[in-house]
């Protein structure tokens, strides 16, 4: 094992060596630099391996051969090794990435780079406070030098501002150090920490002040909000490869310095760290919202991430042993992602966020970009996810709910702007200039992306070993989904076959494991998914990006069913959210909608996270907080926590089912998605929310909060959702939006059924799950097929397509008959159970609302079929063909399914009915032969089908006979009060179809909810836009900010 001091020595030696070279020998100099950095990387990697794998103890290195306090000592432990590895690896890769700049500027620049690396490593390694100062100054000086690498002239001013601030910092630090030394008599950090315990009360005050100054100086190096304008300027203007170092390595080093210093200050200073950290996290994320410059945005994000990690450090008192796991997880995720993003940014020519659209067409880069964003946001299976989970769990267990809320709020905002950016990248117009693919850069980016995944594995492994959580990257469904990333070169149809085979195969392997309830969802998720995937056969080419996203979603849903504990459930939830986000984003105009989907979903997910964390803290069994918490244990959550847990989880799940108030993401997301994606996200994805609600209600049952029955509130929400969803659907001109709003209404029904909390209510909800899957998938497919052929989704532009697209018409016809609940098709079964269920329930008023919404469904359904298939055919549609075979095929399968399910609903329902007896022993259905009866009524699907069929056929044959000579006429052969039509457009009555309804009840569909959320986002944006004027750009102002910040923290600390 090479001593860690060689990390420093190598850099120093190489820097000196460079000095000996001639200025012309730039290639050699560059090679030396790389070699030195590689060597440093190797050493630290070696140490990391030793600590992590072999469990070696940390090692002290005494520079002068004596122990402290007489000499400076360095220490290498796991944390140090990992951090130096990050630093040197980042530096190495950055050196690769900025090859051109380094070669242009020559050996001096390389030397400075080496010195910077050395300084950052030194900050990590040293245990001496003054040495720490020296390394910081070194870092400052080298940073000052490296900023000059940038082509951007503005970097000069940024560097100067930085120097001003570091002057102030160094003054603070020096004064702090000397007084601390005075008080403790040592400069060694560990020694100081020991001595601090025994300081006399008289000089304690002075020592605390000294410590405060040191602490503030180091915290200032973390760019705390709002005293961080200088750092942002650097991030914006420096060479991006250097920004990568500055963010990844510098941030890591400074954080570790603060961590070391906190040893001295003890637990008394943890709240301060937490406070500064969380303010920074939330504040910087907020101010990042209105940013349009990519690098500055990344700067804000860096600041925020460091703030978050500082918060974690501040929570060391409760996190205990987990601190390292959490903090390091976040830090590594941040470093890798941020470095990667900065390297990416040097590929992109423009500085606008939308200029990143240039990445499009480079799938590898997009993949890396997505990886980095997921790393940053902390999505599974990346380390940040595990860290977030543990953090939330511990914070909730300790009752630090407000802090948890702030962190989750900040994280949500961060996700918002990051994924908005991703949306721009995928959807905005490609700039003229393609990306500059320098090999060094690309290598760096790829290494970072791979590192991200490796870290994901490592953290999963650690979570598995330490905490007994499953490693997500070992979950078969997820691996299967990720495998498609590697198969992207295959043509779409091959991948489609694989995907279908995977879904069906996995189902065949595992379906025996589940109870009937889960099984129904499992069937819908997997088999249902496979049927919809049949439609994907129509796609040509390779369809890059579709399969990983789709399979990620399916993997998430599979894991959701498989999950037994809260962690697995939540992980699956986030995976399916991310997968579906990528899937939705593929639609032509889906950028804003995908974003709002993601924001709402993540918001909901965070509520679920909080709910689970809270639940774990409230469980009466075993040690609190317990590491794993089975879903079934939700039932044992005690008062007074239980209703809150219920509330959080319910809202979280209702976000997914788009309950009213949380629904505004749905129409756009579902409508703008691709033809075969809409049925997936509508027919299948929505069920995930219902599944969550099932789990929730199954385990927690009825809960009361302030005397209000929460399920009763859900009942109202369900009813109002059903009404308003349907009502909004009837006013849509866009066919797919209409279906999307209809989904909202249908989910309202299902929610209502669940909230009834009786046997039949649940059965009805389940019936809706099945039915809605079938007919909504079918309708979305046929409407999608029509939209594909006509090139529009506006219904009034269609019309008269029945003769041209008869199969699509049949699908829609069957679909709407089923959906409206008209006998003899299966929708009626849902309604029948529904009526029986509400008869049993003691709640009366919400029924009124739901009664009204029922018939309204007729309105939009009729509109759908009339304006598309009936009425007047348009000029330009006269030569249309039937929708592609592969889109029609699943529809026909659904038609058969619907008919089958209509005749024998017992296939699916009977077992579930029995299964539900364990929750509601009474009130089940009685299945005697073909007759289905409840305590109130009865129903015989086969008899209905036969009777209706006979009557219908008799009359039909009679009419055929009587009318055998009827003359077939064309579309304009209509009577028109002696006039006649001239154009189909003016003859087709379709636009604003339900104008009278709008006059009567239009006031109910005022977009209040949209306005509400719009107002919130506007306020945040505007507020942030105003607040960021605080960063005037003047270096002096920044210095004053810093001083003011110090004073403010002091006052706060005193106040505390």
């Amino acid at each position: 094992m090479v001593s860690a001091i060689f990390i420093l020595a190598a850099a120093l030696a190489a820097a000196f060596l460079l000095g000996l070279l001639k200025d012309e020998q730039r290639g050699v100099a560059y090679a030396i630099t790389l070699l030195a950095l590689a060597f440093m990387t190797w050493i630290s990697a070696d140490w990391t391996w030793a600590f992590a794998m072999d469990g070696a103890a940390s090692v002290d290195i005494f520079t002068a051969g004596t122990e402290p306090p007489f000499a400076i000592n360095l220490r290498v432990g796991l944390a140090e090794a990992v951090l130096t590895l990050i630093i040197s690896l980042t530096a190495l890769l950055s050196a690769l990435a900025m090859k051109d700049a380094l070669l242009a500027l020559g050996r001096r620049a390389m030397a400075v780079l080496l010195v910077a690396t050395l300084a950052f490593c030194g900050i990590v390694l040293t245990r001496d406070i003054f040495n720490l100062f020296v390394f910081f100054e070194l870092a400052a000086i080298s940073t000052g030098g490296l900023i000059l690498l940038s082509d951007d002239e503005r970097a000069l001013a940024a560097g100067f501002k930085y120097l001003i601030v570091s002057q102030v910092i160094s003054i603070l630090l020096l004064i702090g150090i000397i007084f601390a030394y005075h008080a403790t008599g040592t400069l060694n950090i560990d020694g100081m920490a020991d001595a601090a315990q025994s300081i006399l009360p008289g000089s304690r005050q002075a020592f605390m002040l000294a410590f405060f100054l040191m602490f503030m100086a180091l915290v200032a190096e973390l760019k705390p909000f709002p005293a961080n304008g200088w750092a942002l300027d650097i991030y914006e203007s420096a060479h991006p490869a250097y920004s990568a170092i500055f963010s990844a390595a510098g941030g890591a080093a400074a954080l570790y310095a603060v961590d070391k210093l906190l040893l001295v200050g003890g637990t008394a200073w943890l709240p301060a760290a937490t406070g500064i950290g969380v303010v920074t996290f939330v504040g910087a994320n907020l101010l990042a919202l209105p940013q349009t410059n990519d690098r500055r945005l990344l700067g804000y994000s860096s600041v925020a991430q460091i703030g978050l990690i500082l918060t974690v450090l501040g929570q060391r008192d409760v996190l205990g042993d987990l601190t390292g796991f959490v903090a390091l997880g976040l830090l590594l995720a941040h470093s890798v992602a941020k470095a990667g993003l900065y390297w990416l940014s040097s590929l992109v020519a423009g500085r606008e966020l939308s200029a990143w659209a240039a990445l499009r067409g480079h799938p590898l880069m997009i993949f890396a970009f997505a990886t980095f964003l997921c790393l940053l946001v902390g999505l599974p299976p990346f380390p940040g996810f595990y860290a977030k989970w543990e953090l939330a769990r511990v914070l909730a267990a300790e009752g630090r709910i407000a802090l948890l809320a702030l962190i989750l709020f900040g994280a949500l905002i961060e996700a918002t702007y990051l994924f908005r950016w991703f949306g721009y990248t995928i959807k905005r117009d490609k700039p003229a200039e393609d990306i500059a693919c320098a090999s060094g850069n690309v290598i760096a980016i790829c290494v970072a992306a791979v590192t991200g995944w490796v870290l994901g594995y490592l953290w999963g492994d650690a979570a598995n070993v330490m905490l007994g959580r499953g490693n997500l990257l070992l979950a078969l469904p997820l691996l299967f989904a990720l495998a498609f990333l590697l198969l992207e070169w295959l043509p779409a149809w091959t991948k489609n076959m694989l995907a279908i085979a995977g879904l069906v195969g996995y189902f065949a392997l595992t379906w025996g494991d589940y109870d009937p309830l889960r099984l129904i969802f499992f069937v819908i998720f997997l088999i249902g998914g496979a049927v919809i995937l049949l439609a994907s056969f129509h796609a040509h080419g390779r369809r890059v990006g579709f399969y990983p996203a789709a399979m990620l979603m399916y993997a998430g849903m599979t894991m959701l069913i498989e999950a037994t504990d809260t962690f697995g459930f939540f992980a699956a939830w986030e995976i399916l959210t991310v997968g579906s986000y990528f899937l939705i984003l593929r639609g032509k105009h889906s950028e804003p909608h995908a974003l709002s989907y993601l924001v709402f979903s993540l918001g909901g997910a965070f509520l679920i996270l909080a709910g689970f964390a809270l639940a774990a803290s409230g469980a009466p069994l075993g040690v609190s907080p317990r590491l794993t918490f089975a879903l079934s244990e939700l039932a044992q959550v005690a008062q007074p926590l239980a209703p809150w847990v219920f509330l959080l989880l319910a809202i979280g799940f209702m976000t997914k089912t788009a309950a009213i108030g949380l629904h505004i993401w749905l129409p756009g997301a579902h409508a703008e998605a691709e033809t075969d994606v809409s049925p997936m996200v509508s027919g299948i994805l929505l069920k995930a929310g219902l599944f969550g609600l099932f789990i929730l209600l199954m385990s927690m049952g009825k809960q009361q909060l302030y005397g209000i029955e929460l399920t009763y509130v859900m009942l109202w929400i369900g009813a109002i959702t059903a009404l308003l969803g349907n009502l909004m659907a009837i006013f849509q001109e866009d066919a797919k939006r209409l279906l999307a709003y209809s989904s909202i209404g249908q989910m309202g029904y299902a929610l209502f059924g669940l909230a009834l909390m009786n046997h039949l209510g649940w059965l009805m909800a389940l019936m809706f799950v099945i039915n809605h899957y079938i007919y909504k998938s079918m309708l979305f497919l046929s409407v999608g097929g029509v939209a594909k052929r006509t090139g529009t989704r506006a219904m009034y532009q269609m019309g008269g397509l029945i003769a041209l697209m008869p199969l699509s018409f049949i699908a829609v016809l069957i679909g709407i008959i089923a959906m409206s609940g008209v006998p003899p098709l299966s929708g009626f079964g849902g309604r029948w159970i529904f009526y029986n269920a509400i008869l049993e329930s003691e709640y009366r008023l919400p029924m009124v609302v739901i009664f009204l919404s029922g018939p309204i469904a007729f309105l939009y359904l009729f509109r759908l079929i009339h304006t598309i298939f009936l009425g007047q055919l348009k000029d330009e549609h006269r030569k249309l063909k039937e929708a592609p075979f592969w889109i029609v095929l699943p529809q026909m399968i659904y038609v058969v399914l619907l008919l089958a399910f209509a005749v024998v609903p017992g296939i699916a329902l009977r077992r579930v009915d029995e299964y539900m007896n364990q929750f509601f022993p009474t009130g089940g259905l009685n299945w005697s032969g073909l007759n289905i009866s409840s305590p109130y009524g009865y129903w015989d699907p086969i008899a209905i089908m036969i009777i209706v069929g006979c009557i219908f056929m008799t009359l039909f044959l009679w009419l055929l006979f009587v009318n055998r000579k009827a003359q077939k006429v064309k579309q304009f052969n209509i009577v028109f009060a002696a006039e006649r039509p001239y154009r189909p457009e003016t003859t087709h009555f379709a636009w604003n179809f339900f104008a009278p309804y709008r006059k009567a009840l239009g006031f109910l569909v005022q977009p209040f909810v949209t306005q509400f959320w719009g107002a919130i986002t506007d306020t945040l944006h505007t507020g942030a836009d105003i607040a960021r004027r605080f960063y005037t750009g003047n270096g002096q102002t920044y210095a004053i900010h810093l001083l003011g910040f110090v004073v403010a923290v002091y006052l706060f600390a005193r106040g505390i």
């Binding site: 400052a140 000069l156 001013a157 940024a158 100067f160 304008g229 270096g1035 002096q1036």
Partner: protein
């Protein structure tokens, strides 16, 4: 007493320096002010390390090694000051270099005019 005076002077210099640095708009004046503040810091360090009635921590004939512990003042602050001075010099030099380049590029030394980067 001397220590107190030195300490007060040091702090006074720091404050003067900071005041100067934060109120002067000219880059060069700011640099000078920071130098003053640095000097103040150095004085403070030395003053902290000062012990009344002792001598400089140089082991020579006047102070034999055996008595050093009683006779000389704490050498560590002195060493720190030396390092601090060196580093301060480095930073000052870098700032001057920056000021030079800035003037080359922008033809101004007014910090208030170097605000293209903001928000």
């Amino acid at each position: 007493m001397i220590a107190q005076i030195a300490m007060a002077t040091g702090f006074a210099l720091i404050l003067i320096g900071l005041y100067g640095a934060l109120t002067n708009h000219n880059l060069l004046r700011m640099i000078v002010a920071f130098t003053i503040a640095d000097t103040g810091v150095n004085i403070v360090i030395v003053a902290v390390g000062y012990m009344a009635g002792r001598t400089a921590p140089i082991l020579d004939a006047a102070v034999p090694a055996a008595e050093a512990a009683q006779r000389i003042i704490d050498p560590v602050p002195q060493a720190l000051v030396l390092t601090a001075i060196v580093i301060g010099l480095g930073i000052t030099a870098l700032m001057l270099a920056y000021a030079y380049k800035l003037y080359q590029k922008k033809r101004t030394l007014d910090i208030g005019k170097l605000t293209e980067l903001k928000w």
